[in-house]
Every structure is written in structure tokens, then in C-alpha cells.
């Protein structure tokens, strides 16, 4: 059970998607929230929980690209999540 974080799209996103497994979760932060516009919600396995930092979604104006499976969270939630999972993997 690992928590993956993504702060940009492109190759980092592909590397992350290739390594993610069913019990894992993904947090989108900074420019990683642009993954929402690339339909990351439909690419991820169903069982993978997907979160995105609310302030980053709002500041980048991508709220319209959020689908229902993506939960928006704040930094405090992120801290709790990182304690909950075995390890945190930052894909850059």
C-alpha cells in the first residue's frame, strides 16, 4: 500500500502509472493537477484512490476537469495520508 505523488504530467505521469498497483493511492499536486484534464480518472485502476490538492486545482483553474472519483484535499489531509500508507513515492 503506497502513496504516489505527482507534481507534473508527461513522462513522470507515465512512470507513475506504470508502477501504481491496485491498493495504492495517488495525490496530484502543483502541476500534477493538470493530469485531471488528461482523464487520469479513467486511466487509473478503479481501486486506486485519487486525491488532488484543492488549492492547486483552484489556483490553476482546472476545477471543471475534476471528476467524481477525485477527492480534493488540503495539506493537512495529505499529511494524514502519508502517515497512513507504507511509503510515499514522489514521481517528480
Amino acid at each position: 500500500m503506497n502513496l504516489h505523488t505527482l507534481n507534473k504530467t508527461g513522462q513522470a505521469m507515465q512512470a507513475c502509472l506504470a508502477a501504481i498497483t491496485e491498493m495504492d493511492a495517488l495525490v496530484l499536486l502543483e502541476d500534477g493537477v493538470y493530469a485531471l484534464g488528461e482523464d487520469i480518472g479513467t486511466i487509473l485502476p478503479e481501486s486506486v484512490k485519487c486525491f488532488a490538492i484543492r488549492d492547486d486545482i483552484l489556483s490553476r483553474g482546472v476545477r471543471n476537469t475534476c471528476d467524481s472519483r477525485v477527492a480534493s484535499i488540503n495539506w493537512k489531509d495529505f499529511v494524514s495520508l502519508s502517515a497512513e500508507y507504507d511509503k510515499v513515492i514522489s514521481w517528480g
Binding site: 503506497n2 513522462q11 513522470a12 512512470a15 506504470a18 508502477a19 498497483t21 511509503k87 513515492i89 514522489s90 514521481w91 517528480g92
Partner: protein, 120 residues
């Protein structure tokens, strides 16, 4: 200190900034502290494994010479992500000796089983 399995994933091209060196330094440091270390080169980082890098005139530190040092300092596995190698139009002929191939599935299970995963 108990030994943990460190997976270092290098993704950046050689001489592209601090990332490639940081990945190598991390691998060497962890190995020096007797941790079990696997390093995987993927995406543009596969170009760090090219043989015949010549830096005498550019004044850069030769990454091609640092890779064999990894083994000397007991970095257990030095791997290349095979799909990345293919996408870069390269094969084993271009590479330094002793580089192990890993597939997407291999990398996935390494990420799963390692105690620490660091991406540079």
C-alpha cells in the same frame, strides 16, 4: 543500523542538471551505509549508460565513468528500463557492460517490495 532495500529511479539525461548526479550520489551513499541498493535508469536517463562518453573538453564530470563505480561500491543491481531503451532507439550494443534489463512488470514489483523509493 538495520539494512533496508533502497530503490533509486533515475529519469533525467546525463549533464541535464543536478538530478542525474543526485541519483548516483544517493545510491553510493546508501550503499556506503550498507543498505541494499537497486538503481534503475528510465526515460532519458538511459543515456547515462552510454559507453564512450568523453568529457575531457567540456569540463563535466564523466557520468559514464561513475556508473561502473556503483558496482565497486556495492550497489547490488544496476538496471535499465528496457521499454525506455527501446524508445530512445538504443540497445545493449550502445551500453556499458553489466547492465541488467527490467520490464514494466519488474519495475512495478521493485517499487512494491523496496523499503524506500526515490525518484530523481
Amino acid at each position: 543500523m538495520s539494512s533496508q532495500h533502497y530503490l533509486i529511479i533515475s529519469t533525467a539525461a546525463p549533464y541535464s542538471g543536478v538530478k542525474p548526479r543526485a541519483a548516483l550520489d544517493m545510491a553510493l551513499t546508501a550503499a556506503a551505509f550498507e543498505q541494499e541498493v537497486t538503481i534503475v535508469f528510465r526515460d532519458e536517463a538511459v543515456r547515462q549508460l552510454l559507453s564512450g562518453q568523453e568529457t575531457d573538453n567540456s569540463g563535466l564530470k564523466n557520468i559514464g565513468k561513475m556508473i561502473p563505480a556503483l558496482e565497486m561500491y556495492e550497489v547490488k543491481r544496476i538496471c535499465v528500463h528496457a521499454p525506455s531503451l527501446f524508445l530512445q532507439g538504443m540497445n545493449d550494443e550502445y551500453l556499458l557492460d553489466g547492465i541488467e534489463h527490467v520490464s514494466d512488470a519488474d519495475l512495478k514489483s521493485l517499487v512494491e517490495s523496496a523499503d524506500q523509493v526515490m525518484v530523481f
